[in-house]
Symmetry: C2
Subunit: 134 residues, 2 copies
DNA sequence: CTAAACACCGTACTCAAGTACGGAGTCAAC
DNA sequence: GTTGACTCCGTACTTGAGTACGGTGTTTAG
């Protein structure tokens, strides 16, 4: 019943999507997830559609998209907006590439200092600290 | 006179270090940069030492350290704290490595979708959007 | 029938590294 | 001798993605 029930409270939806209840409310405030109509005593009822959307958000996050970008992505039409989606994705790839290059530069500079510290003159002052202040 | 003067106001120091005045004040509030004594009419006077420290902070930032870590690093002794400095640097290298791996996973997944979108059946629904919602 | 668990909502707080604002005092140039 | 640029300081705002809190109403299990 957990994964195939068609109706959720916010709590069961949160557990099903592996997300915090507050996160769902936050997405609603952002307009990323609809606030379903209240039924009966003032509780909102969620559907499989809401669960699917939460999962799509998580997948997009794992691909590196921000919530704002995800809002755009999820508003696109699968049939007619292929180019838009592809452009968004391609831009993101470029951005990630740039970030990777930057991180690799950091990493290499730092690793060299560590090496230098490990194999250099043990009596000399720390090469890492010297590199910072020189 | 710009780079070799030994006395600065906060504004000239900021220009010399290529940093915003507010950033200097922020570092002072954080305790990362000392607040020099006021002289004369209530203005603080900065020295080459302050400029050197600002530059060290920027270098450390470029290597990926946070201000909190930089505070620790800059409190270390070049002679006696080699091992501590090296451990901090090595930990940072590992962290950067992990982040790079994560970004490469994103990048590859995303690039594959883009490729799929570019060379796949142009009549079919967008593979990127389908990947999100499926 | 009542106590625990849950839901509702608005508001405020978190982290990091700043940036911006506002009011008051000071210094230099014309 | 005043205008404009600069400094002082505390406080508040920014971004992104949530998390936490507080008060009130509801549902469910025993």
């Amino acid at each position: 019943m957990a994964t195939l029930s068609s109706s959720y409270t916010i709590g069961t939806l949160a557990r099903a999507a592996q997300v915090n209840v507050e996160t769902i409310r936050y997405y609603q405030r952002r307009g990323l997830l609809p606030r379903p109509a209240v039924v009966g005593g003032g509780y909102r009822t969620y559907s499989e559609t809401d669960l699917a959307r939460l999962r799509a958000i998580k997948r997009a996050q794992h691909l590196g998209f921000s919530l704002e970008e995800i809002e755009t992505l999820l508003s696109l039409n699968e049939e007619t907006d292929r180019v838009k989606a592809r452009n968004l994705a391609q831009d993101k790839v470029s951005l990630i590439d740039a970030r990777i290059v930057q991180l690799m530069e950091m990493r290499n500079a730092l690793a060299e200092l560590v090496d230098c510290c490990r194999h250099g003159d043990t009596a000399a002052p720390c090469p890492i600290l010297r590199a910072l202040s020189a």
